[in-house]
Assembly symmetry: C2
Homo-oligomer: 132 residues x 2
DNA sequence: TTAACTGTACTATGAATCATAGTACACTGC
DNA sequence: GCAGTGTACTATGATTCATAGTACAGTTAA
């Protein structure tokens, strides 16, 4: 479920944040579902509990999960709250990447297809399940 | 022209790489145009020449610029050569960011508009100018 | 040729970050 | 109480980042 590259230049905790975000966004992890405990996950991945904690802290600050002392960490049910500022940031990163993609020869049509594919997979977050 | 944040967690040389890529992609810097020398730019930005060199080396390895000993560093005229592998990497990053964007509530229509806007600004790198 | 520029390649140093180890405390649920 | 949970520290070693300094090779114009 987690593929970590310990010799990557990208910090382990960042890899964890990315991977968990992915699982939450694609709804592999459902809302209010309990995540593995800091110690359990650390043991599974044979890394330090502090590293897990750092990833969880980051995810919580970004609104993707919430933690309750003594109980555990859980997937946030709704869209993160940091919306406006966060959205600007994502749009900004997206603009840079899209420019690079076009520069590298990826066509507009390809990009639109990519969006449609992803939208179908993610489902726009909120959906009524009227079109199964 | 260059806005560097020395206290950012993002390394200075990475900020430089990003910014220069942006200027090249948007054709603010033309093909074969000479970049400031390592020492000159370092003096202008009041940072170490080694940091500039690291950024230039990275840009050269990615195919965005080329350097000639004794002459200088110049903007590469064509699309980078690392295409296939590089394209896969960009597509991968793009997928993650697009998923996050959709999750944050940005609609497919907004994303398509963003693409069109960027495509107009960048021009797709190679164009026949048949549709002005 | 000389002088002044260019890129490039080293070594060394200090600061910051990352991951680890270990300890401790507060809370929950059985 | 006890075993689980999150959380907050300190400390240490490895790595990365940016700096300073030196050196060498190539280009260009005086």
């Amino acid at each position: 479920m987690f593929e970590l590259d310990v010799r990557s230049r990208k910090p382990i905790y960042e890899q964890l944040v990315e991977r968990l975000k992915e699982l939450i966004i694609t709804e592999v992890l459902s809302a209010d579902e309990q995540l593995p405990s800091v110690r359990t996950l650390a043991q599974q991945l044979t890394i330090n509990p502090n590293t897990i904690q750092k990833a969880y802290r980051e995810l919580e600050s970004q609104g993707y999960i919430y933690s309750i002392k003594g109980k555990g960490s859980f997937v946030s049910p709704a869209t993160p709250n940091l919306t406006s500022e966060k959205i600007e940031k994502v749009k900004n990163e997206l603009s840079k990447l899209l420019s690079e993609a076009i520069y590298l020869g990826i066509t507009k049509d390809e990009l639109i297809k990519l969006i449609q594919k992803i939208e179908a997979a993610v489902g726009g977050g909120v959906e009524d399940d009227q079109n199964p």
